[in-house]
């Protein structure tokens, strides 16, 4: 497993922050997932070696937390909130719009490889429902029109790269 120098630096910085090394499992997994796009068994073994743990102890963490994944996703990670306040405000229609714009299904990689659209549980922004996260960015007060604009934006950024 080849990690970028900045990922390795982030890892070295994270470990001494904690009184016990094992606490650094999650920060390390965050860093590696960002670097690699997913968390393989090799990654689990690498983290275990780094922190003096058994690989199964790391794998137990990876498989518990919904954000950690063992599969690839599209270049952009889209998470539409599905919980009650967003659902009352039309979250399902927003999600459908995202799926149809990218000609894809829920939790799949779109045919152009650009996105994976998922439902997320409450994103803690219920007052501006419905909302979604596109990677690290929160989009609020959505409707189908705004969802379309976000899709167009993602597509235009994809062309530029």
């Amino acid at each position: 497993m080849e990690l970028k120098p900045e990922t390795l630096a982030e890892i070295e910085e994270a470990i001494p922050k904690y009184p016990e090394k094992r606490s650094a499992v999650m920060p390390l997994l965050h860093a590696i997932q960002k670097d690699q796009g997913l968390l393989t068994n090799e990654a689990a073994e690498w983290v275990a070696g780094k922190l003096g743990l058994e690989a199964i102890q790391v794998l137990a963490v990876i498989t518990f937390y919904p954000f950690f994944r063992q599969h690839r996703i599209g270049k952009r990670h889209i998470r539409v909130c599905r919980t009650l306040s967003c659902a009352m405000a039309g979250g399902a229609k927003v999600c459908d719009k995202m799926l149809s714009e990218f000609d894809t299904g829920l939790n799949e990689i779109s045919p152009d490889g650009e996105v994976t659209v998922e439902f997320a549980e409450c994103l803690a922004s219920c007052g501006s429902a419905p909302v979604m996260l596109v990677d690290d960015e929160l989009h609020e007060n959505l409707d189908e029109e705004k969802a379309k604009a976000i899709c167009d934006q993602i597509k235009s950024e994809a062309v530029e790269v």
């Binding site: 499992v25 937390y65 979250g91 803690a124």
Partner: protein, 454 residues
């Protein structure tokens, strides 16, 4: 967001002021860190006493008195004491900590540092949920700035007291908001909550050391208690319900949002401040304190006797908007996340939405919760999909009753209470719904969209 004239803003005083920025210079210009400077010159026990006397109660959910919680910390163990700020804001309907972290992060840091100094904590952690990546960055930056000015780190303001703050990001698991689950997660494990006793955080918390776990809003209040003095602070709101609370209102109202208020009624919040139901709609029910709390039905009378023996008979709008008021109406103020359900919402469908949430979020260690939440999802989902069975309404109650009180942590209550209370208040609607949805066919689009549990 515009500040409503009925609000009494203390915690969010500056958050929405034009030109107010999250950097330390802006915070200091507005009097920031003055209370930390004062605190480090004070006797630690005096600060703890002030917090206790203020009657500040936890803003995260259970409403336990914060000063009492601090006093439980085991001082005789000889082990370090840890402070954990619970910023895993995940209770559906709640979005108050987000406002503080994004707009006024230094207020939180000052609150944490005063609290850490007072309780002699060796280290502080802020556990922030993964879905707030921007918030985590803002906190990291704020801590860096505070360290440069010696408000965090070694020998704080020459007091001889040292304390670091570590920002720890979650990974999208709701159960990390439960304090012992959070501690397990912080230790680098699955967030399976611990059984109490013996694992009360105050005695056997993080790394089996005494640990204080406080919510973001709770810790911010400490600064203001020091500023006003416990006596003045306790004059805000009602006795045993002191201070302001940030209420988050979502769903069927004209002006959803967050509002910091004290001493008002539920009706004043929902009708006066939030503008009441949307045009052409009426309010059917209100979930008062996050999705786990028991539902309040509009039109119902809430009767009983208060502590002083006085009888009350309230409509939903008369309920005092605080811990004791909502408790007297048979529910809880929880995290302050209020969801308003108007007459367009079918209660069984709302339940189907929430059961998908709870079955997804059960940590899985207790069988009644793991299996029960999944069955509650299956039953409510099949009702929405036109496959309701004659026994389903009774089955829902039976499953919920078998979860409640039979689990290690309070998640068992959180999953059972919506089911039990929706059935208590809306049983006829459930039976009618089950009848109507006992066969395939018909347009089910709206119900499926609200249940939203593909």
């Amino acid at each position: 967001m515009a500040i409503h004239p009925r609000e009494q803003r203390i915690i969010l005083k500056y958050a929405d002021e034009p030109g107010y920025t999250p950097d330390i210079d802006c915070y200091v210009r507005h009097g920031g860190y003055e209370m930390l400077k004062k605190a480090v010159g004070m006797d630690k026990q005096t600060i703890c006493d002030e917090v206790k006397n203020s009657q500040l109660r936890g803003r995260g959910g259970a409403g336990f008195p914060a000063g009492v919680k601090w006093s439980f910390v085991d001082r005789k163990s000889g082990k370090p004491v840890y402070m954990v700020c619970n910023c895993d804001e995940s209770e559906p309907g709640t979005f108050k900590d987000r406002q503080i972290v994004h707009k006024d992060p230094h207020q939180l840091i000052e609150g944490i540092m005063i609290s850490c100094f007072a309780t002699d904590c060796a280290k502080a952690f802020i556990y922030i949920r993964e879905e707030m990546p921007e918030g985590a960055k803002i906190l990291e930056q704020a801590i860096k700035e505070a360290k440069e000015k010696n408000f965090v780190g070694d020998d704080i303001l020459g007091s001889g007291y040292s304390c670091e703050i570590v920002v720890h990001r979650g990974a999208a698991a709701y159960i990390c908001g439960e304090e012992t689950g959070l501690i397990e997660s912080l230790e680098g494990k699955r967030a399976n909550p611990r059984i109490k006793p013996p694992y009360f955080p105050a005695a056997l918390g993080l790394y089996m050391c005494p640990t204080i776990v406080n919510n973001v809003e709770t810790l911010c209040n400490v600064k203001h208690i020091l500023e006003m003095g416990a006596e003045e602070y306790a004059k805000i709101g009602r006795p045993n319900n002191t201070g302001t609370r940030i209420w988050c209102v979502s769903g069927g109202v004209k002006r959803p949002g967050y509002y910091e208020v004290a001493g008002i009624t539920l009706g004043e919040l929902v009708y006066d401040i939030c503008g009441g139901p949307k045009e052409g709609r009426t309010i059917k029910a209100i979930i008062p304190g996050g999705s786990s709390m028991k539902i309040l039905k509009n039109g119902e009378r809430f009767k009983g006797k208060d502590r002083d023996g006085n009888e009350y008979d309230w409509g939903i709008e008369d309920i005092p908007l605080d811990y004791d008021g909502i408790a007297a109406a048979g529910s809880m103020s929880g995290s302050g996340g209020m969801m308003v359900l108007d007459d367009s919402v079918e209660i069984p469908v709302a339940l189907a939405n929430l059961m998908a949430f709870y079955s997804h979020e059960s940590c899985g260690q207790c069988t009644p919760c793991r299996e029960g939440s999944l069955w509650l999802k299956k039953i409510t989902t099949r009702m929405v999909h036109g496959e309701a069975r004659p026994e389903d309404v009774d089955l829902l109650r039976s499953v919920a009753d078998q979860i409640e009180g039979r689990t290690i942590c309070a998640f068992g209550f959180a999953v059972a209470w919506p089911v039990q209370s929706y059935l208590d208040k809306f049983e006829d609607e459930f039976r009618e719904f089950a009848q109507r949805h006992s066969h395939l066919g018909g347009d089910r689009t709206a119900a499926k969209e609200l249940a939203c549990n593909h």
